[in-house]
């Protein structure tokens, strides 16, 4: 089974999708007074079970990201249903064509990559949403630095995987 977007389902045009996301971020601030940023939600989740002082901070007492996370999952469900129904899948597009090592390898790969996403976004204080969209639009210096770093590292990593090792 292919990924969701393929020859049959074309993505929303970038200008429309981008404008919608921009309006979304501003609306979240105007309607709910919440500054957009998804990665902090991983800390909110940790605050549910951890007694570490870091997760008991006053700042993590606001838990709006939990229902937001639930919504993100529902958005994925809805998208798959509208595309013809949900099917569980391990399909990973180009990864499967390049690295055909089975599910165990993919699971470990995703665990390590996911760890870097969780640790890295929290160390940087935000991710593609909080720094990439909200932070840049709010003219934050921290966001500009972070975005330049994650884009550079992403380019280097993918180029290494797909052009050097695979070359």
């Amino acid at each position: 089974m292919p990924l969701l977007l393929d020859a049959d389902i074309q993505p929303i045009h970038w200008a429309i999708a981008g404008a919608a996301m921009g309006v979304f971020v501003v609306s979240l601030q105007f309607l709910a007074n919440r500054s957009f940023g998804i990665s902090t939600g991983f800390e909110t989740l940790c605050s549910l079970f951890s007694r570490q002082p870091y997760f008991q901070r006053e700042r993590l007492k606001r838990r709006w990201r939990l229902p937001f996370f639930l919504g993100l999952i529902l958005g994925g469900v809805l998208s798959a249903v509208m595309a013809g129904g949900i099917e569980t899948s391990w399909a990973l597009g180009r990864f499967d064509a390049l690295i055909d090592q089975g599910r165990g390898f993919k699971a470990v790969w995703m665990l390590i990559g996911g760890f870097l996403v969780g640790f890295g976004t929290r160390l940087a204080g935000g991710c593609t949403s909080g720094h990439g969209i909200f932070g840049l639009a709010n003219f934050e210096k921290a966001s500009l630095v972070t975005v330049l770093c994650f884009m550079a590292a992403g380019v280097a990593s993918t180029q290494l995987i797909y052009r050097v090792f695979a070359g």
């Binding site: 500054s35 919504g71 720094h131 590292a153």
Partner: protein, 149 residues
């Protein structure tokens, strides 16, 4: 009320991520390989539209309910560099940034559950190591934290 609002908001944003390519492994790789303009276009337009919107919001300084606007910039610190670099590698490996991890779980991608577990472990390790990382890297005081992004 806020609970329901946030579920709806998450669903809308999740759908946007799913149908724009931002939660699609191949589109992420195509972006990092400079093969496709889709995600660069989205980021540029989203930032431009949001910047314009925030400029207007800040002129009034109030939300819809009349509350003072709360959008203070996140702190600037060396973690922006180190964390950004680590996250970039993770994003390239998984093809997912934090939002799309959840969206992919909803789409039925089973490997996204592994990425989710990894991300929670990563965030937990960061929090548990914060006092030490703060000294080594010069991060903000714990109460302030690295930024609520």
């Amino acid at each position: 009320m806020l609970f329901v609002f946030m579920i709806v908001a998450g669903t809308v944003f999740g759908l946007l991520l799913s149908r724009s390519g931002a939660a699609d492994y191949d589109y992420i790789q195509a972006m990092f390989l400079f093969e496709n303009e889709q995600l660069y276009g989205i980021l540029c337009v989203a930032v431009s539209v949001a910047a314009l919107g925030f400029w207007l919001l800040k002129k009034s300084g109030r939300t819809v309910t009349g509350e003072p606007l709360n959008c203070r910039p996140k702190p600037s610190h060396p973690g922006n560099i180190y964390g950004g670099l680590l996250f970039g590698v993770g994003w390239s490996m998984t093809g997912m940034c934090p939002g799309p991890i959840l969206v992919n779980i909803g789409e039925g991608k089973l490997y996204a559950i592994c990425a989710f577990v990894g991300a929670i472990a990563g965030a937990y390790s960061f929090g548990a190591l914060y006092p030490r990382l703060q000294r080594w890297l010069g991060l903000p005081a714990m109460e302030e934290g690295p930024g609520q992004g």
